[in-house]
């Protein structure tokens, strides 16, 4: 019996059994990692919910909230219907390749004992899509029709950004294979695209009633600034799930890689996420002394270094984030001075910062090699890709909202805006036992009016 146990065959069998157990547990670990990244990303939406309700006047608080909730409800199924297919079908540009296994009637798009990857990656990407669709949400509060917002957010969250993902994140994406594009934390494919899509919508949507008097921007104060600040901090928490979802947990001996298959690890992400977060807060605080912008600075900081999260030295990430905090405030003021009413600064925080973040990778990490035959990272490659992201967001955002405007279904009627959207169509009151004023003007000074751009 002992001799039999020690035979070569039995040792090989035991080794194979151990290997099979190890492989199964490794696959389970991968699933567990992305499961929790996805769960943590839900916190982004809890944050958006609190942040946008707080940023609204009390007469529009629930309308802002229901918009967020329904955004999740429509992006997830539409991402199942066509978002995942777009990612897999369009790496070459606008001509699809065969990606039938990503269609909603494919066997791989459902419970499968032998597939421990598709569902969990689909889920993480669906939540990326929901985040992208929600970036639009805050900028358009208090005057967009819920129906129009949902149409726009489906395009943005389930089609436009994931097309950018196919070009800039897919292993065969043309931005990577032709330009060496590097955007590990989605500064471009998520934030730049969403931010400039939002700008296109804002141009057609117009400003809130009372925002500009004789061409001068007025403050429309949030009805609950504390709720807004807490919401922003919840988004920061959710960001850790988002960025975790951006790293690839490989099986075998490979370990962590970026989405471009270059080596990295969570330690690299941890250094620069936190240094970017703190630098952004400082930059926005120095530029405004305003609590809303100070907390938004945390987002600016992370987004500003996300594209090169794996490559930057932490001190450089901190300096970039601080400077981008200052620059984002300048850009928000620039837009406001041109009559754009972005209620939460989304175009500056996400769009402007995302575009610059992509370019900065070319400035500071140019020459870094890629793998699998892709060209090195270059300044020109990053610059061209940043312009592609900007246009890929702006053109459909402007075009679709233009059509909705012409159909007279983009904006609520003036009377509804005056009364408040909650009163007209939500059928509930946010504070039924309180008398919270909902003035269109405010004694609070315009936080951007007297700020001069500093040091950028």
């Amino acid at each position: 019996m002992e001799q039999e146990n020690l035979s070569l065959e039995s040792l090989q069998a035991a080794l194979q059994a151990q290997q099979a157990t190890f492989d199964m547990h490794q696959s389970m670990n991968i699933e567990v990692f992305y499961w929790w990244c996805t769960a943590i990303m839900v916190m982004i939406h809890a944050g958006f919910l609190a942040y946008e309700m707080g940023a609204s006047r009390s007469k529009n608080a629930l309308a802002a909230g229901i918009k967020n909730i329904l955004a999740l409800a429509v992006i997830i199924p539409t991402f199942y219907l066509f978002g995942w297919w777009i990612y897999n079908a369009f790496p070459n540009g606008l001509i699809p390749i065969d990606a039938s296994s990503a269609l909603p009637w494919a066997q791989s798009m459902g419970p499968d004992v032998k597939d421990m990857g598709t569902g969990i990656f689909w889920a993480a990407f669906a939540l990326f899509g929901a985040t992208t669709g929600s970036i639009l949400s805050g900028a358009v509060i208090e005057r967009i029709r819920v129906s129009a917002f949902l149409i726009l957010t489906v395009f943005l969250g389930s089609a436009i950004w994931i097309l950018a993902g196919a070009w800039g994140w897919h292993p065969e994406g043309w931005l990577l294979t032709d330009l060496g594009y590097h955007d590990v934390g989605a500064s471009g494919v998520v934030h730049a695209v969403a931010g400039f899509f939002t700008l296109g919508v804002l141009i057609n949507l117009g400003a809130r009633k009372g925002k500009f008097i004789n061409g001068i921007a007025q403050t429309i104060a949030p009805h609950s600034l504390p709720m807004t600040l807490i919401g922003l901090m919840m988004i920061i928490f959710g960001f850790f799930g988002f960025l975790g979802g951006c790293i690839i947990f490989n099986g075998g001996e490979t370990g962590w890689t970026t989405i471009y298959n270059t080596p990295t690890n969570l330690s690299a992400f941890a250094f620069n996420t936190l240094m970017g977060f703190s630098g952004g807060i400082i930059g926005c605080y120095l530029a405004t002394r305003d609590p809303f912008w100070t907390m938004s600075g945390g987002l600016v900081g992370i987004i500003s270094v996300a594209a090169g999260l794996d490559l930057y030295s932490p001190s450089l990430a901190f300096i970039i984030a601080t400077c981008m905090g200052l620059a984002a405030v300048w850009f928000a003021k620039f837009l406001e001075n041109r009559g754009i009413d972005d209620a939460v600064g989304a175009v500056a925080v996400h769009g402007f910062t995302g575009v610059v973040a992509v370019v900065l990778v070319g400035v500071f990490a140019g020459g870094t090699p890629n793998v699998n035959g892709a060209p090195d990272i270059t300044f020109m490659g990053q610059l061209i890709a940043a312009i592609v992201m900007l246009l890929l967001g702006f053109i459909p955002g402007y075009g679709i909202s233009f059509v909705l405007k012409k159909l007279n279904v983009l904006r609520v009627p003036e009377a509804c805006e005056e009364i408040g959207i909650d009163e007209v169509e939500i059928l509930a009151k946010p504070y039924p036992e309180a008398n919270v004023p909902a003035n269109s003007s405010s004694d609070v000074p315009n936080k951007l009016a007297n700020i001069e751009p500093q040091g950028v």
């Binding site: 199924p77 539409t78 219907l81 009637w105 009377a415």
Partner: protein
């Protein structure tokens, strides 16, 4: 009625109607219909609400 397997031996995709692509296409159309119907319903609700608050 929708089970796609009769045994757990060597099973891969095992969800309901996994072996019936026509049914899966119909379900996908159902998903699209619900999302589209939701947005249509909101448009109708909004139009009615706006009309009442002119």
């Amino acid at each position: 009625m929708g089970s796609s397997i009769t045994t757990w031996e060597n099973v891969s995709a095992y969800f309901t109607f996994a072996d019936n692509p026509v049914a899966l296409v119909l379900f996908a159309l159902g998903v699209a219909g619900i999302v589209g119907g939701l947005i249509r319903s909101i448009i109708k609700h909004e139009n009615k609400a706006f009309e009442e608050h002119k």
